[in-house]
């Protein structure tokens, strides 16, 4: 099986450790993962702000970069959702039948990390070790656009040493929302403040989620509040071992 990592633009530029963790984790599970260097971004920042024409060349770059792979794995529910549910909209808009056909090819083969581990590889115990008190925030796009369900929790439950605590109002949006965080900054911050309060209420040392953009938002608030809670991507917990 030829597997490509779609690291995402945010992780590439801001959170390379998450990408490295995915590579380590997949190799450890016997998957020979490739990083097609022609990749850039899924196009979601443009699409979700309404710039559909601008998204066309970005989506074109995406499908070219990942053509020929059996599976595309991404450590982001949001970017997987974009490939699966939004690329077709952009392709229709382009009026290019070749692009329409190409996105219909790549979309269904794009998996969020926990989906790939549980559904494609069939594992929940990835041999990780993480001796900390952790609470999990299900991000909206993984929860509602992709429907990853409890896959991340099932993976986390198998991590040795971990103490998982429930996050109150877990399914409520953290308020990130892409450009929403800037265009409606006051509302975004009000939502983030409530999320950060719920996180603090759990007494967890670590907040985990499957999307670094949401974690950047919640973590940025927690940091400003000097809450002392660290935010960590799911991939980094799953790639932690006793040695590391």
């Amino acid at each position: 099986m030829r597997v490509a990592l779609q690291v995402t633009c945010v992780n590439d530029a801001m959170f390379p450790d998450t990408g490295k963790a995915v590579v380590r984790l997949l190799r450890h599970l016997g998957v020979d993962v490739d990083f097609p260097s022609a990749q850039t971004c899924c196009g979601q920042p443009m699409v979700n702000t309404g710039y559909l024409d601008e998204a066309v060349p970005v989506v074109r770059t995406f499908v070219r970069a990942f053509a020929g792979y059996d599976a595309v794995v991404t450590p982001s529910g949001s970017c997987a959702g974009s490939a699966r549910h939004q690329h077709s909209i952009v392709a229709e808009r382009s009026g290019d039948p070749a692009l329409v056909a190409a996105v219909a090819e790549t979309g269904p083969r794009t998996y969020e990390l926990s989906e790939f581990l549980v559904d494609v590889l069939g594992v929940t115990d990835v041999g990780a070790y993480f001796p900390h008190r952790v609470t999990y925030h299900p991000t909206c796009h993984s929860l509602r656009m992709l429907g990853v369900g409890d896959r991340p929790q099932r993976l986390l439950e198998q991590v040795r040493g971990i103490e998982l605590v429930d996050l109150p109002m877990a399914e409520e949006c953290c308020g990130f929302g892409g450009t929403f965080a800037l265009k409606n900054a006051d509302t975004s911050i009000a939502m983030g403040a409530d999320k950060a309060r719920h996180v603090r209420d759990t007494g967890a040392e670590v907040l985990v989620a499957g999307d670094n953009s949401c974690l950047m938002h919640i973590g940025g608030m927690l940091s400003r509040q000097r809450a002392g809670v660290r935010v960590v991507h799911l991939a980094e917990i799953l790639a932690s071992t006793e040695e590391s």
């Binding site: 690291v7 590579v23 022609a38 710039y51 770059t61 949006c173 975004s188």
Partner: protein, 492 residues
């Protein structure tokens, strides 16, 4: 009489003001939490809820896709049943029809059943200009009307008011327009409801003309349906001599049997009840029972505009249950007034631009009033994919500015970002620049995130929106791409 939304600021400005009102936020958080819990309980009771949603969406979608046929059938059935059918292209035409019917009966007042369509067209204000007083008889509408206030929720227009505020409004204003509230009025909800009963009863018993909307209009039988709780609807639909119902053309369902999924979906989604206390249905005139003169005004007012939108058309399936408002994290925090329309919340964020277009700045701000979390789609009983329509309406906003002489800063930024994202070499170059910036920030920053990573605190300029309340991690010295190249994917 009551306020108006005209001239409201765009959403982010209105939202900022609302967020500063702690009383409002407390009232809303309590109310939305209560109704969310009630809904969840009664929805969980229906084993095949998802199939019921599919059936409801199907009924409405089928009606919309053959709307001209159903409207003609409805008109014929209503006429056969003794009703008079009127058509109104816009708000002004609809208001003029209601006013002229009222005048024809020499009446200077009408009793009103809560109706979104009449709120949308500003009927009360139009009638007032014609010398006709329109009495709202739904409790929440009465609170809004007496308080010279604006509605902030589809189902509970006074959701932003708590019991103490309602008591104060009743005591201050009821006497000006009819029977005064008792001097010893307490703020117990039951006592407040009792005061509304006393105040409105004389209006029900006296009214010659009533005005309603309709939740559904059944084409093949000419039946209108009003779903309510208090009995004010039954009063208006039964006691006056003349009944005028203003009905949006999207309220049509094809057959009587089509009401089945709708009447099961609506109360559970709306008030969180198995069934609402009262549902009235009537087909034209029933000799010897109820109003003997029945009018139906079929209203367009932008609906055919929305109907022509391939993505947005589904918004016309809406049955105004307000479930999407109650689960919306944005609505819960800013309330309904910030949306500047009688249709607030997620449905308002798509319906207003679909009905009116996006040429004014306030309406154009609405599709952005969402984090696209998708909670609305999950609860919508007729499966309106609100997030997708929001994105499509954002595209409509952007497209409406494509020929601007001076492009906005955002448009330039988006074009530049798209240019960088269209070729990985350009992106790699940008990441090297950001890596250099990251090294600088790491060197000089006095903020560190838990775990030790450097971050930016408050920044001026365009970054202020982010860093006003959120630290921003410093970019890493090396991007993932550079690491992969340098180490051959970690193998070297």
């Amino acid at each position: 009489m009551s306020g108006t939304f005209v001239g409201m600021p765009a959403f982010p400005t209105a939202a900022r003001a609302a967020l500063g009102d702690t009383q409002l936020r407390r009232n809303l958080a309590h109310a939305t939490q209560t109704i969310r819990d009630k809904r969840a309980l009664v929805v969980a009771e229906v084993e095949d809820w998802e199939d019921l949603r599919l059936a409801g969406a199907g009924v409405k979608e089928a009606a919309l896709r053959d709307l001209a046929t159903h409207l003609e059938t409805l008109e014929a059935s209503l006429t056969r049943a003794g009703a008079t059918v009127h058509w109104a292209r816009d708000a002004a035409e609809a208001c003029a029809i209601v006013a002229s019917i009222t005048h024809a009966h020499g009446a200077d007042e009408v009793a009103k059943v809560k109706s979104m369509a009449t709120a949308e067209i500003g009927l009360n204000e139009a009638l007032e200009a014609e010398g006709i007083a329109a009495w709202e008889t739904d409790l929440a509408e009465l609170i809004v009307q007496l308080g010279d206030d604006l509605p902030s929720h589809i189902l509970v227009p006074a959701i932003h008011r708590n019991r103490a505020e309602i008591r104060e409004i009743f005591q201050r204003r009821m006497g000006d327009v009819g029977k005064a509230a008792p001097a010893d009025l307490s703020d117990e909800p039951a006592v407040l409801a009792g005061a509304a009963r006393e105040h409105l009863r004389e209006k029900f018993l006296r009214a010659k003309v009533a005005v309603s909307g309709a939740n559904f209009a059944v084409a093949d039988t000419g039946t209108l349906v009003v779903v309510e709780s208090e009995g004010n609807g039954r009063m208006c639909l039964t006691l006056p001599e003349v009944l005028v119902s203003v009905v949006g053309i999207e309220k049509v369902v094809a057959t009587w049997a089509d009401l089945d999924p709708m009447l099961r979906l609506l109360p559970r989604s709306s008030t969180g009840e198995r069934m609402n206390p009262y549902t009235s249905t009537w087909s034209g005139v029933s000799p010897g029972d109820g109003p003997q003169e029945v009018h139906v005004v079929l209203l367009d007012n932008g609906r055919t505009r929305a109907l022509a939108d391939d993505v947005g058309r589904q918004a016309l399936r809406c049955i105004r249950c307000s479930a999407c408002l109650n689960v919306c994290p944005v609505y819960e925090r800013v309330g309904g007034h910030a949306y500047g329309s009688v249709y607030p919340g997620p449905i308002g964020a798509i319906l207003n631009p679909l009905l009116n277009g996006v040429s004014d700045e306030q309406t154009a701000s609405l599709p952005y009033a969402s984090s696209l979390c998708g909670a609305c789609f999950e609860v919508c009983p007729v499966r309106i994919d609100i997030p997708s329509v929001l994105v499509d309406q954002r595209a409509a906003v952007v497209d409406s500015h494509r020929n601007d002489r001076v492009p906005s800063a955002e448009a330039l930024a988006m074009k530049a970002t798209a240019w960088a994202f269209s070729d990985s070499r350009r992106l790699a170059w940008a990441e090297r620049a950001s890596g250099i910036a990251g090294r600088v920030i790491t060197r000089f920053s006095r903020t560190t995130l838990p775990g030790g990573r450097a971050a930016s605190g408050r920044l001026p300029g365009p970054a202020a929106g982010w860093t006003g309340a959120r630290d921003l991690p410093a970019p890493p010295a090396e991007s993932f791409r550079e690491w992969w190249d340098r180490t051959d994917g970690g193998q070297r």
